[in-house]
Assembly symmetry: C2
Homo-oligomer: 316 residues x 2
């Protein structure tokens, strides 16, 4: 019997695009997701899990194509009323989106784990694939900037990534346990491959890799591990990845990303635009697959997913 | 200098109608409200204060004329999404209304008192009059029925008042302190009159009167105290008052209401339809004013308010 299961590590919008492609090719029995929770935060008394919600909304066809975040067919009556009452409005919560945060917060208060809650909410929206928060323990990404340390959402949403970053920390990480179901999956003999989706290395993937034992588990896994570059031709498709690289005086290349993950990787997926970087990445000891990684359409997402699965098959 | 301040005790929709009338005649310096919090409850992790909200929405012109509860121009996207996620939907929370509960809950969690929070929310909606929750301590009305004890909102909303009531309790009441600002007002030499609005005796007014020291403070007050009958011609304008009276084997008359409050009252306002009850109510030792108490229009509300103020003036 050939190995059957795949695991994708993912963060925000870029990762969710490939996740959607994978979900079209692999059944719930064949594919699980591990999601960054480092950008979770408490706001208005609610527990908000932006990356989980991005994945859940994307996989369920509920994502908002106009904003790139939140739910489609959204309305903003709550927000308008909150503003009238003098409430905080810098983090926009749509009327429909709010139901997710209220349910999650309520169930957390009732003692349920984020994993159990996520599973239940995803199922309610028709998602069959397993979505595993990276940990049930709190990890909070904090951003060091020239204006001082700030919580991730303060940096990302309130300050709109304007402050120049000088570092990151994943607060609580050292005490957080990897999601037990994720540990089990990582050790499974049935695992055919692990994908690190094209998400921001600093604020989407590194919080996952920072969990004690996570890098070693990826290194020890018998399944091949690949990453798909979030940097294409020196720019990022979405989000502040390249801005951060520049502020950190890091070369804004896919090669740097490959090197950053090299210890846990067997292969790396470069965009065809970056074919010139292939030899350099191979010199890190990695197999390289050059393909179209820019995903504009659903077909692009499925095609890249298929490419990645083929690449993992070669590495098995 | 003549006495200048009035205090109105109020509960739900009926009380809020007269409150609105009074607010048209008296300035913020002249009029304060004390509001029942016995029907407050925790739902979806939010602190909901239905009677405070009814008063706030009524005074600010935000009340929903179609439903009789909640905010006008309301939408229900949150509720629809919550239903999709498998959440509890028996208590309807509109998108706009939700902002009130989120703000209140958040500020309570931050250690602010319900009084301070109510004051702030009311001001944000343009209300100048002082709205005092009867207590900052939790009091919860519970309803004894032929199906057992139930929390008030379970009886009132979930069961739609169907179970026959056999009694009430105001849980926490014995430990609750009257709102300190209300105590001060009750003892003020400047108080010209106290009005018990035409609210349900059992679930709107009795929870206020059940606070330790409250009845005595009304008895001791130098200001005259009047009540306006919520029962007119043997029926209640709104809500389950008469149904409750029947189930409790209490005569469904205004006279019974007058007798129920008689120890704290100086005067009682009967509807003109109930003029035949005047002598009976007077025999309780109360002055009686017969007038139109049914309030269909804003003019009705203002006219009844003026009648009540004139009546209090006579009793001074």
């Amino acid at each position: 019997m050939s190995k059957k299961r795949y695991l994708a590590l993912t963060g925000g919008v870029g990762g969710a695009k490939l996740a959607l492609g994978l979900s079209q090719l692999l059944t719930a029995e064949q594919l699980s997701f591990a999601v960054n929770t480092g950008d979770d935060f408490e706001h208005l008394g609610l527990h908000i899990s932006p990356d989980i919600d991005t994945l859940v909304y994307t996989l369920s066809g509920q994502s908002n194509p106009d904003t790139g975040w939140g739910r489609r067919d959204e309305s903003w009556q709550f927000m308008q009323s909150l503003e009238q009452l003098g409430g905080e409005t810098w983090f926009r919560l749509g009327d429909r989106d709010l139901a997710m945060h209220i349910q999650r917060t309520r169930q957390l208060a009732a003692g349920k784990s984020l994993t159990e809650i996520t599973n239940r909410l995803a199922k309610a929206l028709g998602i069959e694939h397993q979505i595993l928060p990276m940990s049930d323990d709190p990890v909070r990404t904090r951003v060091q900037t020239q204006s001082g340390w700030m919580d991730f959402q303060e940096y990302f949403v309130k300050q709109q990534c304007r402050p120049a970053v000088t570092g990151f920390e994943y607060s609580g990480s050292e005490m957080a346990a990897i999601n037990p179901q994720l540990v089990e999956l990582l050790h499974s003999d049935n695992l055919a491959g692990i994908l690190i989706c094209p998400s921001n290395p600093f604020v989407s993937i590194d919080p996952i890799l920072a969990l004690p034992g996570m890098r070693q588990a990826l290194i020890d896994s018998k399944a091949p591990v690949i990453a798909i570059s979030p940097v294409v031709g020196g720019t990022a498709i979405k989000g502040p990845t390249v801005k951060m690289m520049q502020e950190l005086s890091i070369p804004n290349t896919a090669s740097w990303v490959a090197g950053h993950y090299a210890d846990v990787l067997d292969g790396f997926v470069l965009d065809q635009q970056d074919a010139g970087l292939k030899a350099g990445v191979e010199s890190l000891g990695l197999s390289v697959n050059c393909t179209q990684t820019v995903m504009n359409t659903l077909e692009d997402r499925v095609a890249l997913a298929q490419d990645c699965l083929d690449f993992l098959h070669q590495l098995n």
